[in-house]
């Protein structure tokens, strides 16, 4: 009889998911490696990058603006009514601003992008695999990494920080609107408080996070798309995996990144 080792005592399901997790982690790592090795060699498809920035960045603008506006407004409302009894209304601008700049801006923007862009990329690439278009790219002597992965990764890395910056502005604008109409705060006062009390670190943290979040969104999306094997059913599966993985990485990563940036803050 085979002796019992610690591996056989772990439930099989858990072992399988853990194996899958490691395989996907390795796969994403390999994809990143290919990205770096191929981005250094010619040719660079600039027009494909511009196209992706349009599709990923510009086309996400309405979604991000609506998200930011409503988030800012809700936050101002919550803080405003919550602090009212303590006479804390004048602190609303500062609270809203720092929450948006450090947390809500990058996290909500990234989550929305993970849903919109992550899903789009995974399903598009997955369909290209199923219809052999990825094979065709290779068969015609070109590289799917160069033509498909690099433009999408770069476009995400460029677009997300810009979208976060826009979200920062629009979110505070939402706060200001509620501050004026609901809390009776003077808009000029509100604006001055936002500018005076938020420092450059607040912006930097938000933008710094967004660079990581961009990678969390786009790398799994490309990876799961490229690894579609057996037909269209898997395209749906890959899309789900891309969105779930991206969103989880953003939420979990946010904790560690926040911690990391606080340490930097103290340091400086």
């Amino acid at each position: 009889m085979k002796s019992k080792t610690w591996t056989t005592t772990i439930p099989d399901d858990f072992k399988k998911s853990f194996e899958a997790f490691l395989i996907h982690l390795g796969g994403c790592g390999l994809l990143i490696k290919k990205f770096f090795s191929e981005i250094r060699t010619k040719p660079f498809y600039f027009s494909l990058l511009v196209e992706q920035i349009y599709l990923i960045g510009v086309k996400s603008l309405p979604l991000i603006i609506i998200t930011a506006l409503s988030t800012g407004m809700v936050m101002a409302l919550q803080y405003g009514f919550g602090l009212e009894k303590f006479g804390g209304k004048p602190y609303v601008p500062r609270l809203v601003a720092s929450t948006i700049l450090r947390e809500m801006g990058p996290v909500f923007t990234s989550l929305m992008l993970a849903a919109r862009v992550g899903a789009g990329i995974a399903s598009e690439i997955g369909s290209m695999v199923v219809t052999q278009q990825i094979d065709a790219i290779r068969a015609l002597g070109t590289s799917p990494i160069k033509r498909i992965v690099i433009p999408r990764v770069l476009a995400c890395l460029i677009s997300l920080p810009i979208l976060v910056a826009i979200c920062d502005v629009v979110g505070n604008l939402g706060g200001l609107i509620v501050g004026y109409y609901e809390l009776g705060l003077d808009p000029q006062f509100y604006l001055r408080r936002v500018l005076d009390t938020s420092n450059i670190q607040d912006y930097a943290v938000g933008l710094g996070k967004s660079v990581f979040f961009a990678i969390f969104i786009v790398v799994p999306a490309c990876y799961f798309g490229l690894n579609v094997k057996n037909g269209t059913k898997e395209v749906g599966l890959a899309t789900t995996k891309a969105v779930v993985t991206g969103s989880l990485l953003i939420l979990i990563g946010d904790f560690f990144l926040s911690k990391l940036f606080w340490i930097f803050d103290k340091w400086m």
């Binding site: 219809t131 278009q133 065709a136 290779r138 068969a139 015609l140 002597g141 070109t142």
Partner: protein, 243 residues
């Protein structure tokens, strides 16, 4: 001279052993028919010839150069010389027919846009598809997509063409068109392998046949010779007696 040599090629997917020592070669200018039942592994052989699949063991030589262990980068030069005609066309659906055909010219030649335009117009005219130039693949019929797929594959003027079931699912008109195109390429001295279940087309264009069965090549001979031999595997295959 042998342009393509496959020696003792072995390939499996997981536990599914598909090829167990496939060996054959193709001479310069020859059109070889590769036949066998569904799932015998014909497409896998074609894919391996341009490095889309890696052999587990054995070797593949193109013009006496071993490509078996080449990296994607090294394969680029090989792929410029070998055209792969995908079974379903595999056209880029986000691009027009024109951009599909321009793809390899833009990637591998120094031609400017007007020269590319000229070349593509000539090619499409030759294929009788000039009117489709600015359409998207989704606006074309299956037969047209296949012909465009063929046109795209040969834009760079390849030495070798691999056809994967180019006539499957086509009406007689489109089938004849494809046959003519294959014969035209053959008359230009191109070496080719034709994977097909459409035996009339195979017989019309192939000089030689190899029969893939039980994971190996079980028959290899000139078309005439095999057809005249009543108990040849090809004849049994045509009559539906074996797969």
């Amino acid at each position: 001279m042998d342009v393509i040599q496959i020696k003792n090629f072995k390939k499996s997917f997981g536990t599914n052993l598909v090829h167990d020592g496939v060996t054959f070669d193709v001479k310069k200018g020859e059109c070889l028919g590769l036949v066998g039942g569904s799932g015998a592994g014909k497409s896998v052989i074609l894919r391996s010839l341009i490095g889309l699949e890696q052999a587990d063991s054995g070797s593949i030589l193109i013009n006496s150069v071993d490509i078996t262990h080449m990296s994607e980068k090294e394969l680029v030069e090989i792929r410029k010389k070998i055209a792969y005609v995908f079974q379903n066309g595999a056209l880029f659906d986000s691009m027009t027919v024109f951009d599909n055909l321009a793809y390899s010219l833009r990637a591998h030649t120094q031609l400017n846009e007007s020269q590319i335009d000229d070349r593509i117009s000539v090619q499409l005219d030759e294929f009788g598809l000039l009117s489709a130039k600015l359409l998207y693949p989704s606006e074309l019929s299956g037969g047209m997509q296949k012909r465009i797929g063929l046109a795209r594959a040969i834009m760079l003027g390849p030495d070798i063409i691999l056809y994967d079931e180019p006539t499957a699912g086509l009406d007689p008109y489109n089938t004849i068109k494809i046959q003519e195109l294959i014969l035209r390429m053959k008359s230009k001295g191109v070496t080719s392998i034709l994977v097909t279940h459409d035996m009339p087309t195979g017989i019309a264009v192939c000089d030689r046949f190899v029969f893939l069965q039980n994971k190996v090549i079980s028959e290899d001979g000139q078309t005439e010779e095999l057809l005249n031999k009543p108990d040849s595997l090809i004849n049994q295959f045509i009559k539906g007696q074996i797969v």
